[in-house]
Structure formats: C-alpha cells, structure tokens
C-alpha cells in the first residue's frame, strides 16, 4: 500500500496548481474583460440603479425615490408621445425601407452583365457619412431653396413642407434610409449565392419559370437571413437617434421626438439623469421582449 500511496500527495498539488491558474488565457482575456465590464456591464447596472434615484451628479446618487421616476414617466404625456412616435417610426421604416434590400438582392441575382458594377453603385450612397447624408437631405427638403420641391413642382405635384409639416416630418426623416441599404443588400445577396444550383435546375425541369422560381425557391431561401435582419432592424430602428436630432431636433410640434431623443434631452438638456435611466431601462425591456418574441416565432417556423 505504502509505495502506491506515497507519490500521490506529491503529484496532486503540482497538477492542480497548473490547472488552477492558466496564466496565458487570463492574459489574453483580461483587457477585453476589463473593457466590457467597465464600458458595458457597469453602465447597464448603473442605468438601472440610477432610475431609482433623483440622481445628482455632484452628490451621487442623490435621493432614493423608489419607483417614482417610473410613475412620473407613465403619467407624463411626453413619454407616451415619444413611445407612440417610436412605434410610428418603426412602422414607417418597415413600410419604406425594410423590403428594399431584399428586392434589390433578388433582382440583382438575375443580373449577369455588370453585376459587380451595380453592387459598387448600390454601396455608393453608404459612402456618405450618415450625418452628412442627413444634412444633405435636410438641404434637399428645404422648402425655399430645396431641389425636391423644385423637381416636384416641375412635374406638377406641387411643393410640400417636408420637415416643417408635423404630418410629414416622420416620412421625410425615413426617406433617406431607402437609399442607405447597400450593406443589407449585400447580406441578402451573399445569402443568395449559397442556394444550391441543383434546386434551381430541378425547378427548371419541373417547368417553373423565372418568376415562379423567384417566389417559390429564391425568396424562401432568404427566410432565415430575413429573420436575423429583422431582429437587427427592430433594435436599430428603435434606437435611431441621429436623423431626428439632426434634421428636426424632435419638432415640429414634437412629432419626431422618439424615446432615444427623450433620453438625450432629459439627461443632457434637463439633467434629470434618474428619469433618463428609467426611460433607458424601459427601452431595454421593450427591445428584449420584442427580440424574444421574434426569436420564438422564427424558431417555430
């Protein structure tokens, strides 16, 4: 017994010592872990924590107010207006922009000649930095000197108020998005390249014409990508801030003030950080819920 037992106590500590502290992975991962903790998780927790306080920057965290920031939100017409606007924007973006890259990609798939050139040209509007694009469109919309009203008058459609018209401002903000979809188009297009050519050949032999093939084979094969893109689309649209801030600043008559603008204004204009934290948390919950539903639905499909 003894000779067998003896080496054990010696070996064990050595092995477990080596196993316990894997220095290399720790060194490789530490910078990233620190960065993510500091710039993602800590702020997220802080946002939720803040929402329970009448937060003071000078003397944090200020007075504990429980849920009154939330009850303030739910009783303020501003919040409901912003929530309504956010969902309205979501719908308008969906109607005007979501389908565009899908159609572009499916049709591009039929194009052989100059295919690459067209891909470059589709990407070209993406080269205009987003902020620059919004400023450009603001200038195009200008009711006095803008090109758009001039062109519309030229073809006899009359001029519009665009960004100055509360009924129209939302649509005017979304329209530039129609042309900025080059990247999503490429995502769909690269997905289409993965369709096995046998499927298409088989459909051909079955007598399906090109239009029929498009509907029965090409489009269904995109379903998965469309699902993923839709999740990204939801959160992207929900958080959109730049075009509203740059083109209208929330006006006219608060018709383009969304939740994200409300977060910005309540924190950096009104300095009500607690309220901003509460709105942030509500947004986070809404997005999480929508994404969860979407994932569930696409799984059952």
């Amino acid at each position: 017994m003894k000779p067998i037992m003896e080496p054990k106590p010696q070996l064990r500590p050595v092995i477990s010592w080596r196993m316990k502290i894997p220095w290399t992975p720790i060194l490789f991962l530490t910078p990233a872990v620190i960065a993510f903790l500091l710039f993602k998780y800590y702020p997220l927790v802080q946002a939720i924590y803040m929402s329970f306080f009448d937060y003071k920057v000078i003397d944090p965290p200020g007075r504990f107010v429980g849920l009154s920031n939330y009850s303030y939100l739910f009783h303020s017409s501003e919040f409901w207006n912003a929530l309504r606007n956010t969902f309205a924007f979501f719908l308008i973006y969906f109607i005007l922009t979501f389908w565009v890259p899908i159609v572009q990609a499916i049709l591009l798939n039929e194009i052989r000649f100059a295919n690459k050139t067209i891909r470059v040209l589709y990407l070209l509007p993406t080269a205009v930095p987003a902020v620059a694009g919004f400023l450009l469109w603001k200038w195009l919309y200008n009711p006095d000197y803008g090109l758009l009203n001039y062109l519309l008058e030229f073809i006899g459609l009359g001029s519009f108020g665009w960004l100055n018209d509360p009924a129209m401002a939302k649509w005017a903000i979304v329209i530039p998005g129609i042309f900025g979809s080059g990247m999503s188009m490429l995502i769909y297009y690269s997905a289409l390249q993965g369709i096995p050519s046998e499927n298409i050949e088989a459909a051909k032999i079955d007598g399906a014409g090109p239009w029929k093939r498009m509907i029965s084979i090409v489009f269904p094969s995109l379903k998965f990508v469309i699902g993923i893109q839709f999740i990204a689309f939801i959160s992207g649209v929900f958080l959109t801030f730049d075009p509203m801030y740059i083109m209208t600043g929330g006006g006219p008559a608060n018709s383009t003030r969304t939740l994200s603008m409300l977060v910005f204004d309540s924190s950096f204009k009104e300095f009500r950080f607690g309220v901003a934290g509460a709105i942030s948390f509500v947004m986070f919950i809404i997005i999480a819920v929508i994404t969860y539903i979407q994932i569930r639905v696409s799984r059952t499909d």
Binding site: A32, V100, A130, W139, F284
Partner: protein
C-alpha cells in the same frame, strides 16, 4: 450550354428587363442627391439661395480694378495699403449680395504701377465676420483691422519698389459688363477711397469654384479660438484608427483565447459574456457611460471617445469564429515544439489571419467614422469634436452658408468613398460573416 441559353425560357426577358430597370432606378435616384451635393458645394453665396435651383454652378468672375493716384498726396507704402484695403473690403462688403470670385486692385501713379493687391472670395468669407462686421465704414476701422488682415494673410498686398510702366486702358470703356458696372458704382459712391477708377475688367476664373473648400480650412485661427475643418477630420482619423488598433489587439487576443485556450463551461460562459453585449443598446447606457467617463476625467478628451469602442461584442464574435476554423493540427504541432501561446499567436495565427484582421478593420472604420451620438455627448469642447459633431454644428452657424456646408459634406465623404470602392470585396466578405452568423 451555349445552345441551351439561346433557347429562351418564357418570362426570362421580362425578368431581365425588370431587374435592370429596378437597379437603374434605385441607382439614379440615389446618385442624384450626390451630384446635387457636389454641384451645390461649388456655388457662390448668392446662387446657392436662388430658386429655381440650378444644377451646374456658375464660374465666378474675377474683377480687376485699376486705380489712378495722380494728383494725390499718398506717398508711403502703408498709406497705399490702407487705401487698397478700403477699396477691397468696403466695396466687397457693400456687394455681398453679388457673386464675386476675386477682387484685385492695381495702383498706378504717373503711369507707373505702384502696388498690386488682391483677395479671393474664400478669404473674404473667412474674414468678413471680423474685418467688416457692419456696413459702417470709416478710416479708423480699417486702420484697426489692418494688423489682423496682415496676420491672417487675408489680402495680398504687393508694393512695387521698381514699378513697371502701366500700359493698360486709361479711359473706362463705355459698355461694361453687369458686375463691373456694379463694382464701379460702389467706387464712385465711396468717399473713403483716394484713388480714381481708371479701368475695370472682369474675367471668368474657374479656380474660384473651389473656394468653398478653402473656406473650411480658413476657419482655423479665427478670433474665438475656432478650429478649421481639417482639425475635426484629424480628430476623426485619430479616433477611428485608435479604435481599429484596439479591436485588432484586444479583440484579436480575446477571440484567440476563446477559440483555442478556454474550453468547456467557462469558455461558453465567457463567450456569452462578450457576445450578449451586442444586445445592450448604446442609448440605454449613454448616461451612465458619460458619468463613468466623467469619473475617469476623460470627458472632453479623445480617449473618452475611443475607450468605449474597445468593448464591441461583434468584434470578439468575428475573431472567435475565424480562429475556430483554423486547422487545430498546426497549433498542436507548434505546442509540441514547445512554443508558448504568445509565440503561437503572434508568429503563427496573426500572419495566417490577414483576412479577418482586414475585415474587422474595414467594418470598424465604417462604423466609427460615421459615429455621431457618443462624440456628441462626450466631446463638449470644439477642440475634440469629430467631424460628425462639427458638421451638425456647421448647420447652425450663421456665418456658414449652405454652399460651404455642402463642401464640408463632400470632403467628409471622400475617405469613406475610397474605402468602399477599394475594399468592396472585403466588405462583402465581412457582411457575409456578420450577417449570416449574427
């Protein structure tokens, strides 16, 4: 195949026609604003606000005025310089509702050219708020402003020590073009200018089409410590490249560790820790992130803009995905040879993984170059503005016409345009990485 493709299917032609025309429609409609942007960026301050708008900018007119100093008691160069400045700045200020490309004055005394002075329109635009803020003119104004004009090099003045003899017109031609007539009337109305107009001429100068671009650089060194557009572009370049570098180093190492060094429950837990942050919306953590930066004393620094970019879940996700595909045998072989993980990473993995590093660089470039909200929040003082924040500020500046704003947009577009055209393939690759797996 060739024979078969000649036998057309039914509907093939319509598919083709529809495909091409839809593509053409989208492209034309999306390129029109870009052409309009470039055209507007070359317009002068007046025609930019004209309705109906024109597509092609007018070539600006360079006006040359010859002043006669016979029978005047000016003798010192300084006195002539003052007179030339009055002639240029006062006349131009009165004519700011006309489009002048440049204004040049030639001073002649007793048949000899004594000085030449000229100013292009971008320098007038840049100096106007400081030199001639009002329509009120007198001798003391220009005497006080002369040091500023000299210091900022707004107006060229060349004193002709050994003047050549003047051999141009000495009598005004009876039929002058429209702009020259207007300039002439301002000279004859003025009581401040000593010299008498002897000749006036105008000619088109295409170089002045690009003056709006030059105005952008001229804002630097202005009175209120303002910065020129190049300064903001430089900030953006620094922020973008620092972010790319941080992704390549921090993200690459973490991705490698997740792919090859950590396994089992800890590995998947860590992966989730990183990748789940993709779900955290930027706006939701905006305020606490700002307060964190405030605690670290990084508000109003470029570091404050850069550091949060070190934590992008998608980057680690991409690196991990790529490194996992690398053949494990190579790693094993290197380990058996006794190479440390650091050596393996730097000398084996990194050289093999050029595609993923370039893809991440390009994707980061596009995202960070475009970024607006975070710099807007964290960069409170103009010295650390990125160009996106500056552009947003430009649209509210009174002194900046829409034509100058348009030219700043054109300049801001160029870097991204170069990246997109040259890196088309990489972008497509990156997009299929992110789009299909994410």
């Amino acid at each position: 195949m060739a024979a078969r493709s000649r036998i057309r299917e039914r509907g093939e032609l319509t598919v083709r026609i529809v495909s091409y025309s839809v593509a053409a429609l989208f492209i034309v409609v999306s390129v029109i604003p870009l052409i309009w942007m470039i055209g507007s960026s070359m317009k002068d301050n007046i025609s930019i606000y004209r309705f109906p708008p024109t597509w092609i900018p007018q070539t600006p007119q360079a006006v040359t005025v010859t002043l006669n100093y016979d029978d005047t008691d000016l003798s010192k160069p300084d006195e002539y310089e003052l007179d030339a400045m009055k002639a240029i700045w006062f006349t131009w200020k009165k004519m700011q509702n006309d489009a002048i490309g440049s204004l040049a004055i030639t001073g002649v005394k007793e048949g000899i050219v004594v000085y030449k002075a000229d100013m292009p329109s971008y320098k007038f635009t840049a100096g106007r708020p400081e030199i001639v803020p009002t329509q009120l003119f007198n001798d003391t104004t220009i005497r006080n402003k002369l040091p500023i004009i000299r210091e900022r090099g707004l107006t060229n003045f060349e004193w002709m020590e050994k003047g050549e003899s003047y051999d141009g017109n000495t009598v005004l031609s009876p039929e002058l073009p429209e702009l020259s007539t207007a300039v002439l009337s301002k000279f004859t109305d003025s009581s401040h200018i000593t010299g008498q107009v002897m000749d006036i001429a105008e000619k088109k100068d295409w170089r002045r089409l690009f003056d709006n671009y030059l105005v952008l650089a001229q804002f630097a060194g202005g009175s209120e410590g303002s910065y020129g557009f190049p300064h903001f572009l430089m900030n953006s370049v620094i922020v973008t490249f620092a972010s790319i570098l941080s992704h390549l180093i921090i993200g690459g190492m973490a991705g490698f560790a997740l792919a090859h060094l950590v396994r089992g429950r800890i590995g998947s837990g860590l992966t989730l820790f990183f990748v789940a942050t993709i779900m955290i919306p930027e706006i939701a953590i905006l305020v606490p992130l700002y307060l964190t930066m405030d605690k670290l004393h990084l508000v109003n620094t470029l570091w404050g803009i850069i550091l949060p970019h070190t934590a992008w879940g998608i980057v680690i996700f991409l690196f991990k995905g790529f490194f996992e595909q690398l053949p494990g045998e190579l790693l094993q072989a290197a380990r058996i040879d006794g190479a440390s993980e650091f050596r393996i990473y730097w000398w084996l993995i990194v050289p093999m993984s050029a595609p993923i590093f370039t893809v991440v660089s390009v994707m980061t470039f596009i995202a960070v170059w475009n970024e607006f909200l975070w710099p807007l929040v964290i960069a409170r003082s103009p010295s650390v503005w990125t160009f996106t924040v500056a552009l947003n500020d430009f649209q509210n500046r009174q002194s900046m016409g829409a034509n100058v704003v348009m030219s700043s947009l054109v300049i801001a577009t160029i870097p991204l345009m170069i990246i997109i055209i040259t890196c088309q393939k990489l972008i497509e690759k990156g997009v299929s990485f992110t789009g299909l797996k994410g």
